[in-house]
């Protein structure tokens, strides 16, 4: 998910340019600060809605969602969540967001139990059969964070233009 703002215009007066650049500099700081808030919102939303640890290695999806910003002078952008990194470190990010209406219905999953915990083992001849009524409810953390972020940025732009 990313948000981007670019300043465009045709300026000639030096004072006007100096004033605009001071405003633009402040705006960029606020833009990045707001991006960090949206990132925090997404993390907290995930923590509140994801059930349990996401895989055997103990990795949590919320630890894999990065925040980045790019300041290119007249253009500033923020990015939340690097898809390549997520695909490598937390490939279940899509399932958490979109849900699964029928995950592995009736399928045999190889592995065994260690205490109460089931350990997946692809080579095992023993295993469990997933019940057909198991569902993965969607969390839609991306859409919800985008909704929150859009409102935050609209507010920031309103404040900046009515100053």
């Amino acid at each position: 998910m990313s948000f981007q703002v670019k300043m465009v215009g045709d300026f000639t007066l030096k004072e006007e340019i100096d004033g605009l650049f001071l405003d633009w500099k402040n705006f960029k700081q606020e833009f990045i600060y707001t991006g960090k808030n949206i990132h925090r919102f997404m993390i907290e939303y995930l923590k509140a809605n994801v059930k349990g640890t996401s895989n055997d290695s103990g990795k949590h999806l919320h630890n894999e969602i990065d925040f980045e910003f790019l300041d290119e002078g007249m253009r500033v952008s923020v990015g939340i969540g690097d898809i390549e990194k997520l695909n490598t470190n937390a490939p279940w990010w899509r399932l958490q967001n979109f849900g699964l209406a029928h995950p592995m219905a009736g399928r045999f999953v190889p592995g065994g139990f260690s205490g109460r915990k089931f350990i997946y083992d692809p080579g095992s001849k023993t295993g469990i059969k997933i019940k057909e009524d198991l569902k993965y409810e969607p969390i839609n953390y991306i859409e919800n964070a985008e909704h929150y972020g859009t409102a935050e940025y609209q507010r920031l732009i309103q404040l900046s233009t009515t100053k």
Partner: protein, 157 residues
């Protein structure tokens, strides 16, 4: 018992889509809950609400106006069926629909239209679960998600 705003918005949009879809498609089921969709009731559409923003209507006032994100999941029977349903729903939802206030008395629901729900932003995504479609159950093979931000335009004191 009278429904509050969130359920009124959810149910109004669900009822509106049910009517529109039934008039144009055959055999499409519309549900409120993701959990109701199974392989036996495809194609299906679910309508849920996500988080809400309550913006102040003016400086110095405590009154707010809410903006709700509606999440519409579409489960098609084929890629073509999915794309047709998705585009149809987008075309219907992008305008406005009636805002109904619902009351349930002794298990019987009644409603009265008190305004309009308008769509502010809309986006649709074809759901890619990162798995081969042949490995997925037929329910999850052809899916799309439409996220719409809507407002009923009402000021809440």
């Amino acid at each position: 018992m009278a429904y509050r705003t969130t359920r009124n918005i959810e149910t109004s949009i669900k009822d509106f889509l049910t009517t529109q879809i039934n008039a144009n498609f055959t055999g499409v089921n519309v549900y409120r809950s993701f959990g109701e969709v199974t392989g036996n009731n495809l194609p299906a559409v679910t309508v849920r609400s996500g988080n809400q923003n309550h913006g102040r209507v003016e400086v110095g006032s405590f009154s707010t106006r809410r903006e709700v994100i509606m999440l519409i999941d579409i489960f098609g029977t084929s890629e073509g069926n999915l794309l047709d349903l998705k585009d149809f729903i987008v075309s219907q939802i992008k305008g406005s629909c009636p805002y109904n206030e619902y009351t349930v008395t002794n298990g019987v629901s009644s409603s009265v239209t008190t305004g309009r729900i308008t769509c502010n932003t809309i986006s649709d995504t074809l759901v890619n679960l990162g798995t081969n479609k042949s490995d997925l159950d037929k329910v999850d093979r052809h899916r799309a998600l439409i996220s719409v931000t809507v407002s009923n335009g009402k000021m809440e004191a």
